[in-house]
């Protein structure tokens, strides 16, 4: 105890009998109670690192047979043939990265725009409802996004959007938009991921924008900047590393997202430059094959996919947290 509390019991010794009657506990008993309490909450706290360790070890051990058999070819080759014991997950890694990249490209400008709107521009009566609606996107279950994607998004992509991209914008000649679009595609997965990670990026961005000191804004305005110039030159540079952290946090979500992607990406283990082509991700590979795994090596290979996913998201999340912490340290 420091500060004001240290001064409080100054008169206590003189009235010792009353003082003890208020707390009918002996010193030893109270010390024992405190020790037990402290031990209990420490045990709960330590259980979090232990849980992570347990996850890492048990998945690592289960993945070992497949990893040691395939070696580096596990992540560099594309042949996934259970019967012959060939496990190459390159297409799934490629699909995971590409679908997440599409999601980031679409979601980042929107998330930053809506965050600027909410923290700098919106009239106060609009802030709460719009902020609530954006946050609510995070509350919608993944499987509902998948359902909506199958019956609403995919028809939309197939009819007005794909022809628009190919013919009206003339992108059909580029390898990225070539070929027929049957709906289930890398593009569909990327778009649904963009909607799903938007609230995560926006929540962090809003938080770091609010952490930018008022004086920063006032200084820019006092120098005659317009509001946009203030945002561009004074607010965004100050918040930059935090915003990047938010984007990377969104990336972490996109990389591991399972259900909606599995329902929309088409689940075909091929590497194709076209975003209209179906693909595969690591998470959907696990989701599709795990319950139907035919032998121990197959299971081990799927565990190894999980281990790769675990490692990638661990690195991505640690990086994101560090970047956000750099801006918001000092605040909570």
């Amino acid at each position: 105890m420091t500060g004001p509390a240290a001064k409080l019991p100054a008169g206590a010794p003189a009235e010792a009998p009353q003082w003890t009657s208020l707390a009918p506990v002996t010193m030893e008993a109270s010390a024992r109670g405190d020790r037990i309490y402290h031990t209990v909450i420490t045990a709960f706290a330590i259980s979090i690192p232990l849980l992570l360790l347990l996850i890492a070890i048990s998945i690592g051990l289960a993945a070992w047979p497949a990893l040691s058999q395939s070696g580096l070819s596990f992540i560099t080759t594309s042949e996934w043939d259970v019967a012959r014991g060939r496990f190459g997950v390159a297409p799934a890694i490629y699909g995971t990265i590409v679908s997440s990249a599409i999601a980031l490209v679409l979601a980042t400008p929107l998330a930053i725009g809506v965050s600027i709107f909410l923290s700098e521009i919106a009239p106060s009566w609009l802030r709460q409802p719009v902020g609530f609606l954006v946050d609510l996107l995070a509350a919608i279950p993944s499987v509902v996004y998948g359902l909506w994607g199958i019956f609403v998004l995919i028809p939309l992509l197939r009819d007005p959007i794909a022809p628009f991209l190919k013919d009206t914008l003339g992108l059909g000649n580029t390898p990225f938009f070539s070929g027929q679009n049957y709906g289930y595609s890398m593009l569909a997965a990327g778009v649904i991921l963009a909607i799903m990670i938007l609230p995560f990026i926006s929540a962090v961005t809003r938080e770091v924008l609010l952490a930018v000191p008022r004086s920063q804004r006032e200084a820019a305005l006092a120098l005659g900047a317009t509001r946009w110039e203030m945002i561009r030159d004074a607010v965004l540079p100050y918040a930059r590393s935090g915003i990047i952290g938010g984007i990377i946090l969104g990336l972490g979500r996109a990389l591991g997202e399972t259900m909606a992607v599995t329902m929309l990406i088409g689940n075909r283990p091929e590497i194709s430059a076209s975003l209209f082509a179906p693909g595969y991700t690591m998470a959907s590979l696990i989701a599709n094959e795990f319950t139907e795994a035919t032998n121990d090596l197959h299971l081990s290979a799927l565990m190894a996919v999980g281990a790769v996913l675990f490692t990638i998201t661990l690195i991505v999340n640690a990086l994101a947290r560090w970047l956000v912490w750099r801006v918001t340290k000092g605040r909570v």
């Binding site: 109270s30 979090i48 909506w148 317009t226």
Partner: protein, 283 residues
Amino acid sequence: MTDRRRRRHGVNGVMLGLTYVAAAVATLPLVLIIIHLLRQGAAFIRPQFFTQMPMPIGEAGGGMANAIVGTLILVSIASVIGLPVGIGAGLYLAERRGARLANTVRFLSDVLNGLPSIVLGIFAWEFLVRPFGNFSAIAGGMALGAMMIPLVTRTTEEMVRLVPTSLREAALALGYTRWRTSVTIVLRTALPGIVTGALVAVARIAGETAPLLFTALGNQFWSTSLTQPIAALPLQIFTYAISPYDTAHAQAWAGALVLIAIVLVISLAARYATRARFGTAPD
């Protein structure tokens, strides 16, 4: 000079306008999803939906009674695991802020929060399904519980930190022991906030599918046994959504509407609990 001024103000107007557009576009998907859920699902929400068992896939009618009960059971198991651990760890983080272990735990709790839920699913399978030889409600609930821990930890820490130091000091000065101060004064004051955090966590895990795929598995029959595979609303929606039958799709929409309604009601209750905190704040 005036040209430049006009250009600057023009850019200002355009960029500020674009943020309005961003806000409109960002809220559009939510509106579209809700509209479609209501249009497609509302017609199939009848009392039977909550009381009847699912029909064989491809046949019309039937309900999701088993899945709704299954989800409730799974969420209960998860809460039994996630709430005590999360609240305990959150108390620890708030009371020992600055300690090296506290910083490590906080960081790893965030890492756990960012872990893909499917990874928790295969972990729970390896740990709770493989050794026992069968899929079970317990395994599914535990996987969801592990997801809950970091969420509850985070909000508990934040809420406990909001409790004024003077309150804690007053209790200690009256001779309360530290643990009684923590439990009866600090925790009691932070309770509405912690309830909010718990509700948000429940809302989040209630709709999770990926961790249940290889743990709870799903069950088309009535089962409340904790050691048997159990049905869950999200799993049922998934199964129906990817089936080729229109009748199944209709059930999927109805199920999704019920699931969203559950999640929204819990989220709104969480908001209400937060408001109550400010209403009953100590003077």
